[in-house]
Symmetry: C2
Subunit: 430 residues, 2 copies
Amino acid sequence: MKKKFNIAVVGLGQVGLYLLNELKNKRKNLELITGKKINVVAISAKNIKKKRKFKINKKIFFSNPLDIFKKTKVDILFEAIGLSNGISKKVVEAALKNKIHVITPNKALISKHGDLLAKLAEQNKVNLQFEASVAGGIPILKSIKEGLASNKISKVYGILNGTTNYILSEMENTNESFERVLKKAQKLGYAEPGNPKLDLNGFDAFAKVRILSALAFNNKISKHKCIMEGIENIDLKDIKIANQLNLRIKLLGISEIINNQLFETVHPCMVSNNSYIGNVSGVMNAVITQGKPVGESILQGEGAGPGPTSSSLLSDLVSILRGNSNNPFGTPSSLRKKLKPFNSNNYTNSLYLRFEVKDKSGVLSMITNRLAKYNISIKRIIQTPDKLNKKATIVIITHKTSEINSKNCLSIFKKNKNILKFPTLIRLYN
Amino acid sequence: MKKKFNIAVVGLGQVGLYLLNELKNKRKNLELITGKKINVVAISAKNIKKKRKFKINKKIFFSNPLDIFKKTKVDILFEAIGLSNGISKKVVEAALKNKIHVITPNKALISKHGDLLAKLAEQNKVNLQFEASVAGGIPILKSIKEGLASNKISKVYGILNGTTNYILSEMENTNESFERVLKKAQKLGYAEPGNPKLDLNGFDAFAKVRILSALAFNNKISKHKCIMEGIENIDLKDIKIANQLNLRIKLLGISEIINNQLFETVHPCMVSNNSYIGNVSGVMNAVITQGKPVGESILQGEGAGPGPTSSSLLSDLVSILRGNSNNPFGTPSSLRKKLKPFNSNNYTNSLYLRFEVKDKSGVLSMITNRLAKYNISIKRIIQTPDKLNKKATIVIITHKTSEINSKNCLSIFKKNKNILKFPTLIRLYN
């Protein structure tokens, strides 16, 4: 077997640059644990002149990453550009076609084009590895693909986005508004300064859910429309009320088999503040797997940042250097199934509903009557008057009801002069 | 590469039998995810006639497992006999010498003869895999060897024995004595009916600590004498007092690099009942890894029972079928180091000390004077009189002090007529 491996690193942002430095510092150690030598022969980024934290070797710099394949012999390519389309996809495709192993932390790319790229990797007998795409430094993909390989997994869920988890924890701890805490997160480098939208609206967590489902349930990456909600509408008020109820709000990603159908979702959840998941705070990620015969497994670790990401990228490198050839999704592409989607209208939960209403008699009974009409039974009700402004806050915790039922039930409150804004709905975790 | 693999299962106790059944049930799935066929060609146990939960194929039964190698072509052998010496060692050695891959859950064997057997496996170019030997179904060894491979790990610790964790949890929940709960654990199959000693005295957890250190720190399995204490002396009284102090007693296994030296230990610890580790209860295991750059990772799952064990055994099988050849401890045997031991006399902790004394004036000051003489400063003191019996319980929480210092300090209380029994010492987790 080959003893020396040439490496290219494409994309020199926070992650790519950190990785490059790690490759330099860990070279000897990597040789020790794998018996193979590595040599970085090509790097690429948009701008050679950009000021960077570590010095780069300009002799091996390519402005156009696609030129690398023409001019240098590369065995393993790290793609750290990001985004699902455009140059990152082109580079990965070109590399695989040139029989070059690819390692990437790019969840957008894998969750969109993973099936196509996996097929390409298999055809060209090279590895496509993406441990860093889900839950940062936590080796969750390897655990599902290898450590839990023989189990029948029925559910994978958890906290998959460090940025939003940080924001929710920080709002609770400091009593500051969403906007203020978001700015703090951006300052600390947790949320992207330009466009934090993909973290906040649940898209980032959702991409990870799709990758997890593909691995856990041996299915092609799903394309179904699902419930995807982020934390942009979480109000400090809800966090405080949750606290009074011994609950805590977490953005959960969930992938589950219900009646042999696949259900995937990302939405904020109220969880018990005594529960394990309720106590995963800050930038931590946690993934919980339910399988037979292993039972419930939990993996927790830092979910964001160049350090944890780099740890996963290098673990993929180690497995390639050791000659461990794996199909990108464990099972060969040709044998992966297409699971039918579970109709999300039938997804059922207890609900937290917060109504902001005019403080007038009859309003509460109007709400409870409406709920009764849709057979949504009430578990708990808390009314807090705001005499000064002649308003009141009504919080209702319901028993379980389906998505479609609650949607229909609540629709009437869109235009009702006594309801000051459309009620806030947060699902309770089952 | 080979397409068909012949398998032998040696030892048909709880684990071996469950595994045999799983191999039958999961055959198709294993073929799907690995592309290889498996065939069980030999089984062995002491007694062919023993009544078993699942029917065994008597045509492939061997009374003497060593006969298997003479009469059948085997590619992969599962050793599920247990114990570190005797027949289990002989079978594993013979298999490796015959170029047969070996998979075992036998922590006693690996923690004692792992280095020797690893060398043998490497010489014969076969795998020796033992994921199931530590923390049941949790893929902790693969995570350290692969998922966290490039990290510099500084500490691995956790709850590594499900039986003792169950007993401690159950004592707290039911207020029943150690002896009563032990009987319950035996009835439920958590503790061995005949000889639960190796679980209770910390030996089982300690064997796992040694395996974890070897993997995490790339060192030969250590043989140093260490602090190994079990839970046999944990009194319900201590559990209750811990509770009042918002603490909880857990049996922790710890492996750590201190001043470039290896420190390994197993002992009961008082941990905060708000901490993560304080809330891992029942038969659950949890392993916490601290590494750079990944930060802190937690893996939690069921640590005992044939289901989780079988999950890990099959994950080892999958990696062999996929052709992933690994050195048993990641790094080749010849390159593994011998770490110097950290002197456990210098191990420092805050201490929980419980004195049972005669209720006489001067006793408390005698104790505090003695502590002062050894510079052990007191953080908290709780004296509870038992007027009826003219006795008192004095609980002292100290600031940090070294093992040797506390040992010398407490020695005097061995023979003191006012001290009714030698004080109970439980370390607080740092």
